[in-house]
Symmetry: C2
Subunit: 235 residues, 2 copies
Amino acid sequence: MTYELYYWSGIQGRGEYVRLALEAAGAPYRDVAREDGDRVLSAFGKGIETPSFAPPFLKDGAVVVGQVAAILLYLGDRLELAPKDERLRLWTHQIQLTIADFVVEGHDVHHPIGAGQYYEDQKPEALRRAEEFRNERVPKFLDWFETILERNPAGPDHLVGDRLTYADLSLFQVMSGLSYAFPRLMERLYGDYPKIAAVSAAVAKHPPIAAYLKSDRRLAPNEEDIFRHYPELDP
Amino acid sequence: MTYELYYWSGIQGRGEYVRLALEAAGAPYRDVAREDGDRVLSAFGKGIETPSFAPPFLKDGAVVVGQVAAILLYLGDRLELAPKDERLRLWTHQIQLTIADFVVEGHDVHHPIGAGQYYEDQKPEALRRAEEFRNERVPKFLDWFETILERNPAGPDHLVGDRLTYADLSLFQVMSGLSYAFPRLMERLYGDYPKIAAVSAAVAKHPPIAAYLKSDRRLAPNEEDIFRHYPELDP
């Protein structure tokens, strides 16, 4: 069965967390809007019983699931990217939900007044919000990831248990986004988080992910995406 | 087994979505910080394998779960507040995740520059963000809830299937928060969403919830909470 991923064709965005899971597992999938255009995204929801509030959503036969964390919960079992044990399966999901919160903050740093207005029209506000994001929020989230890696009873090579889960993939993606958007901040912080750095590097070297990152399926980061590089926000 | 809920003692906040589930099911629980003080919240995470990034978290014997949506996923099965069918169980979760996104926006409307600074220090920014929230975001979310109620094949009395789920409880809570924070907006909008209004009213009348709302366990909304009433944001 070929999975169908529906997400904006021009950005990594939230779709990327799903793409990484599909790619890591070598699962067959169609990236529908990249083939058929973004208009399929709004057309799809019309009339179905379980329309998603926003992309991404995944179609697997008769099942349609939206919200990244819910999609990964669904795929985690099927692609063997989540533990079988219920407690650890839920813990993996909890980590993903915390990553989702971090991603919202990563977006709102350049759009504090609202997604409906241009960055240029909310730049002074973005400068203020970026200060708190750099000084308080990024360290708080990274401290937490480093701590849970330290405390993993199976060792610090993975966020959960002793093998790759979608949480590791998502941590890689967040670190990749932060490094693009805030290169100066991340350069200063990176040495403080050796376990996060090691997991991120291992994900990048995981053969199917390494092949994906070199392919043209991996979109380049850009200033339409969630993590954006505005030098003034990263002094 | 008595569940232990860990959440700030002075606000409904995100803990309330969990409280409503426990109360609706008549489950035995301790609201730990309300009994022992808020310092238990930070003390609890020290040294455990699965510390939550932030409250609320729920302890059920050896299981500790954080993130509202993950807690409700866990409780939904146990308290019979979620469908057994996997597709509908995931759909319930997807709705909860969308409610969680709405709640973040409901908070950020009064703290667009960051949670680390007082409202008074970001009031002009809040005025701008509130305009988009009122005019674009609230109608977009409410349109979506009304639509999925309309499309529920089991009828519009519940978000999912033909019985109460945690998603209905959470929708009630969001509507309660919006009505407190934006009474003028909600007065103007309320007639446009008869199905949401009916579900919210039915939740409020559900006997265990009706009893809870009258009890002193239900905290009053206030300006430390996520939904806050600042009249200037609701002209």
